[in-house]
Amino acid sequence: MAVDIMLTILTVVFALMVVFSKKTVVAAFSLLMTLLMIAMIYFQLGTVFISAVQVLINAGAIAILFVFVMMLINLEQFTNNREKSKWKLIVSTVTILVLLGVFALVINNNIETLSVMNLADNSMKTLFAKLFDVYYLPFEMATVLLLAAIVACIVITSHEKHEVAEELAAAKSEDKV
């Protein structure tokens, strides 16, 4: 129980740093730490495979991708703090607190049924048997989705090249005229 509370506190602290830190780089590294803490939580819950995948994909790839993109974009932009509208912050904070209260109430009412640990067969063998037996079509669709995302990224970010080529072609045709 002590480990649960410690992990929860650490996750909450890093998550708060993601939202309330002024520098975006700090926020990105806090997100990395939050994702690692969540991986620890998965490990604590006994879902070892999900924990490993979380470290590999979410913490290792996604959070690093954020930092990588920040290197491509001019970092000086992130340091100037724009004036934030106070009313927006206050209203959204109140709304979120109400939402959190509703969630907490719902969890509190069902906590006895929810906190039963069901020790079913939890091995990776049964997990993958189910993945390739019942969920084979979503699995294939996920690969198609990843391929589509790769193509989309290339198309979106290489748009500038086409424009440059068109401008060059236009300049050449003007020279000829």
Binding site: A15, V19, T47, R82, L89, L131, A142, H159
Partner: protein
């Protein structure tokens, strides 16, 4: 274990709060990632309390989808930065102009 239910609700709400009041697009994407991880924690907890393995498989699919979302979102941010030299939401008025 029951404390993690509150943690997942907190992570979701915190991400929602951040995505409402943050101004630059990268921070908004970071907060969306926070919301996603809150929901993933909830899925794993359900798998532990009900014994269904389907929830754990849902978490794996969620990771795939969030990887796609982040990749496309960041490439859109880079494309926008090249075009407009800004990543702040209040500088982008393409629709209203």
């Amino acid at each position: 274990m029951s404390i993690y239910y509150y943690l997942s609700a907190f992570l979701f709400c915190l991400g929602l709060l951040g995505s409402i009041f943050k101004k630059d697009l990268i921070s908004i994407l970071l907060c969306l990632e926070l919301m996603m991880s809150g929901v993933a924690v909830l899925f794993v907890l359900f798998s532990k309390s009900t014994g269904f393995l389907d929830s754990q498989l849902m978490v794996i699919f969620m990771m795939i989808i969030s990887a796609c979302e982040v990749a496309i979102g960041l490439s859109l941010i880079i494309a926008l930065y090249r075009k407009k030299q800004t990543i702040y939401t209040d500088d982008i008025k393409i629709i209203t102009e």
